[in-house]
């Protein structure tokens, strides 16, 4: 497949890197330095120029392109790129936008602007934050099979009752599969005798109740559920969507915004939230409003440094968990080391979404773990699959190590995979794959 990516920023570069192995990629950007850099770092064709102009697109080979991904930082540019591509070719068009109004227009018609697939940065980031709320110790949560299966990544907190237990001891849940343990740079496929250490990250796949139950087991002092008190700092678009999505889910979040006009606007738009107008770094205010009693704090201010500061302040005041929006992807790991529980990089989230959409091989749904160290796929079993009509222990023998069958759904039924489980056509399987076996295994499933 020939894919033209317009915009070689973080999102574009990341998508290009992900797709370069399997596809012919052309990257278009106006910035000469960036183009130059990509030419050497990735096995892609680069074109310097304005992606909205026909001559640039021609130069990039729009006639032969199967897909155009517009991923610049400017919504209108991305829309024009897609509309132009659609006007002169049959390429499938993907646009990244920040403004949810465009997304709403597109969702209403599915044809608007000549865009075939649209992803909204702010909304996606907010959704990935909200998924983590309500599940203690979770760093990442994704749903599969229409919500019947959840994949969650947990960090085992210090002093957790499961510390130094084996997986067999920790797993007290019928409908839960341990997929892997991530420790520093290594990835260990979970076995019954694998030992869980403090600060290990564990990937589990199961039905949502078991996942939540497991969360309570590893972090018993954090009660899960809807009574959670959430504070959102910063009325940015992401902060707004987090508060809105939480409100839809029955939470009553508090949102703190410094700008009076914006605060008023947010208060009008968010009937289920309590909006406060103040500087979130004002300690007196935070104490007066008992922000320290919150179970969950989302830092969504417009600067990474402020988000770090707010998260650290919140931890000091006693907030159980903090999530910070971090724009600079290099900071994510650093911030997580010094005190932010979960760092969310909006661009990474978008790149992930576009990549998962672009990936072929019949996967219905993909989750990417820890920026590409592993993937969780949902596949529908068809006649050609190695899994069909045979017990799992036989098919796994034909697959490399690093593959874990996490969950199976047959219609509305949830089936916990065991060695002797026989898969049928039409079953949905959620599979955990180590990064190094992804390309090898995906076509076989």
């Amino acid at each position: 497949m020939r894919v033209i990516i317009v915009g070689a920023g973080q999102v574009g570069s990341s998508i290009a890197a992900d797709l370069a192995d399997a596809h012919d990629i052309v990257v278009v950007d106006q910035d000469g330095d960036r183009v130059e850099e990509l030419t050497y770092s990735l096995d892609v064709l680069t074109v310097q120029g304005d992606g909205t102009s026909l001559s640039t697109l021609d130069e990039a080979g729009i006639d032969e392109a199967d897909m155009v991904i517009a991923s610049t930082d400017d919504d209108e540019t991305n829309i024009v790129v897609c509309a132009t591509a659609r006007a002169v070719s049959d390429a499938f068009t993907v646009a990244r936008v920040k403004n949810t109004e465009y997304l709403r227009t597109w969702e209403r018609s599915e044809r608007a602007f000549g865009i075939d697939f649209m992803v909204c940065t702010n909304l996606l980031a907010a959704e990935s934050i909200v998924r983590v709320v309500g599940i203690p110790a979770a760093r990442d949560v994704d749903s599969f099979a229409g919500g019947r299966v959840q994949m969650a990544e947990f960090e085992i907190p210090p002093g957790s009752p499961v510390t130094d237990q084996t997986v067999a001891e920790a797993d007290r849940f019928e409908q839960l599969t341990f997929a892997a343990i991530l420790r520093d740079d290594e990835l260990e496929i979970a076995r019954g005798d694998s030992i869980l250490h403090e600060r290990d990250r564990v990937v589990v796949i199961g039905n949502p109740r078991s996942v939540r139950g497991f969360a309570t087991t590893i972090a018993p002092e954090e009660p899960p559920g809807t009574a959670e008190e959430v504070v959102v700092i910063g009325g940015s678009e992401i902060g707004y969507h987090v508060a809105r999505l939480l409100g839809d889910r029955g939470f009553k979040p508090r949102l703190i915004e410094q700008n009076g006009e914006r605060a008023r606007q947010l208060a009008e738009d968010l009937p289920n939230a309590v909006v406060m107008e103040n500087d979130a770094t004002d300690m007196d205010f935070l104490e007066r409003e008992h922000v320290g009693d919150a179970d969950f704090l989302v830092a969504a201010l417009d600067s990474d440094e402020k988000n770090l500061l707010v998260s650290l302040l919140a931890r000091r005041l006693g907030v159980d968990r903090t999530v910070a929006v971090i724009d600079t992807s290099e900071y994510v790991e650093l911030f997580e080391t010094v005190g932010v529980d979960v760092g969310v990089n909006p661009r990474e989230v978008v790149a992930e979404e576009i990549t998962r959409f672009t990936r072929d091989g019949g996967a219905e749904n993909v989750a990417i773990i820890e920026s590409d160290r592993a993937e969780v796929l949902e596949v529908e079993v068809d006649a050609e699959s190695v899994l069909v009509d045979r017990p799992i222990h036989e098919s796994v023998a034909d697959l490399p190590a690093g593959v874990v069958i996490g969950a199976i759904t047959r219609g509305d039924e949830f089936i916990t995979p065991r060695g002797d489980t026989v898969l049928e056509r039409g079953d949905h399987v959620v599979v955990f794959l180590d990064e190094c076996v992804v390309d090898d295994v995906t076509p076989k499933l």
Binding site: V274, V275, M276, E277
Partner: protein
């Protein structure tokens, strides 16, 4: 730039409206002919209204209204219409000296103060009367119909009607309607204001016709012996404007339980925002039950009805002695007790009827609630202050204002504990502008201050003129006239009348009705010196 109120433009438009008043006057004229009564009251009034209207219109043939002129035009229209509307009553009582003999020489409407009171009470849909005997024998069918027709014209609003049919009001019509229509602000239903006005009048006319048909249907079905054609029309014309001028002396008590039950939903509809009916009829029927004000309005009536019905059922809500100055005797009271205590249907029916009648400011009575005990009566007094919905024909403070006030008080309590919280006041899905909230507070406070001051003045004046009136009676009379309700308690109860007040007291209440119908501000604005200053 020096801006002066262009009163000539305002008065010229008043003239146009007055001129067209001749059209509705032809209806009682025809009725009078049909019943073989004197046509002089209507014929003369038609001539006068055309002459005065034409004269005023001549002041300026091509009026161009600004915002300030709008207030004056609306306020003056209502005053002028009410003054001219009093003429038929006077002519009926006095005749035309040397030309036409008086047809009702004993009428209590013979004095100008009484005639103006009755007319203003009609047009403002108050329903307070100074008729000595409310009967078709003492007064002609034509005159009695004129009373009802004046209410019907006043209900949806004379100015709204004018906007609907006069092309010269297509610009500036929204301001005029805003100045006249009850409740804070108007809702434009269509791009053209004249169409909006026509839609509102259409819904109003539709409900009126439906009620008349159903009432007469009950009569034909044998369930309402007294409800002949004349009565059906008369009650249709006075229910929908929340007026309450029944041609029967005993109001709706004169009719069967079936009639009373039927009138209740029509009163509820009359007190509902007519824009909601328009939406319901143009494809959004769920808008009505979803509307916050409507739910609050129905909920408030349901709660009050429940309370009053319970009081009546157990007997606590029924008076134990005949209060002085009431219009009934001990036998009547015994009958009321026997009807209400321990009987579910009558207790519920009378409670619902009276609560709905007073909340919507209709002012009909299915029973003389003077025979009720103080606990039930105070609930009714409270009901008078709720008022109908914005955009309805009901008077009073209006449900939406109370709702916004309650919500903003809750907001104040919250922000006292959390000073940094930003909390817009929500009305359904929309947030209410802070300036609108201030306006609502100002109006409600003004209304209440006016109520207390006017109660004091009325009480003092009645004392001076030798009429003994209790404080509650004085307060209820003011609440009933300022809120365009009609009946109060005691002397001015549902079966009583305002006849015994002195002429000054009556003219004072005429002013209250005028103020109340136009929601005080348009009238008060015209009385401030700043309004007239350059």
């Amino acid at each position: 730039m020096a801006i002066r109120v262009d009163y000539r433009a305002s008065l010229s438009l008043v003239g146009t409206v007055l001129k067209y008043l001749a059209v509705p006057l032809s209806i009682p004229l025809v009725v009078a002919v049909a019943y073989g009564e004197s046509v002089a009251p209507f014929l003369v009034t038609m001539l006068v209204t055309v002459a005065v209207g034409g004269g005023l219109e001549w002041l300026r043939p091509d009026p161009d209204l600004g915002a300030r002129e709008g207030f004056l035009m609306v306020a003056a229209t209502w005053l002028a219409v009410s003054l001219i509307g009093a003429l038929p009553y006077l002519i009926e009582a006095h005749g035309l000296p040397g030309l036409v003999p008086a047809t009702a020489p004993d009428s209590t409407l013979a004095t100008p103060a009484n005639a103006v009171f009755e007319s203003m009470s009609g047009f403002t849909t108050t329903g307070a009367t100074v008729l000595g005997s409310i009967s078709l024998d003492a007064h002609g069918h034509g005159i009695m119909l004129w009373r009802q027709l004046s209410q019907w014209l006043g209900g949806m609003g004379i100015v709204v009607l004018a906007v609907a049919i006069l092309p010269e009001l297509s610009v500036g019509g929204a301001q005029l309607m805003d100045a006249e229509a009850p409740g804070p602000g108007i809702e434009k239903l269509t791009p053209r204001i004249a169409e909006t006005a026509r839609a509102l009048w259409g819904a109003y006319l539709g409900f009126t016709v439906l009620e008349i048909l159903l009432l007469y249907g009950l009569h034909l079905g044998g369930m309402a012996p007294n409800m002949d054609v004349y009565n059906a029309v008369a009650h249709g014309l006075t229910t929908m404007p929340t007026g309450g001028f029944s041609p029967e002396a005993r109001s709706i008590e004169a009719f069967s339980a079936a009639v009373q039950w039927l009138i209740i939903p029509f009163m509820i509809a009359a007190g509902t925002n007519f824009a909601l009916f328009w939406h319901a009829l143009t494809g959004d029927p769920k808008r009505l039950p979803r509307d916050t004000e409507f739910r609050f309005y129905v909920g408030a009536m349901a709660v009050l009805t429940g309370l009053v019905a319970a009081l009546l059922f157990v007997g606590n809500g029924v008076a134990t002695f005949v209060p002085p100055g009431t219009t009934f005797d001990a036998g009547y009271l015994a009958g009321v007790r026997a009807t209400l205590i321990g009987n579910v249907e009558p207790a519920l029916r009378h409670a619902a009827f009276q609560v709905v009648s007073l909340v919507t400011t209709t002012g009909y009575a299915s029973i003389d609630f003077n025979a009720w005990g103080p606990s039930a009566q105070y609930l009714l007094l409270f009901a008078m202050f709720i008022g109908g919905s914005a955009g309805s024909t009901g008077g009073g403070i209006k449900v939406v204002r109370w709702y916004v006030i309650l919500k903003s008080i809750r907001r104040e309590l919250f922000t006292t504990a959390h000073p940094e919280a930003v909390r817009p006041v929500r009305l359904g899905g929309r947030t209410v502008d802070e300036r609108a909230i201030r306006g609502i507070y100002a109006f409600t406070l003004l209304y209440l201050v006016m109520f207390f001051v006017a109660s004091g003045l009325l009480f003092l004046n009645t004392g001076r003129s030798g009429l003994s009136l209790s404080v509650l009676e004085a307060m209820s009379a003011v609440a009933a006239t300022l809120g365009n309700v009609g009946p109060g308690f005691g002397l001015v109860g549902p079966m009583g009348s305002y006849l015994d007040f002195s002429a000054t007291s009556k003219l004072f209440m005429v002013a209250l009705m005028w103020l109340g119908r136009l929601e005080i501000l348009p009238v008060l604005v015209c009385l401030t010196p700043e309004y007239w200053r350059q």
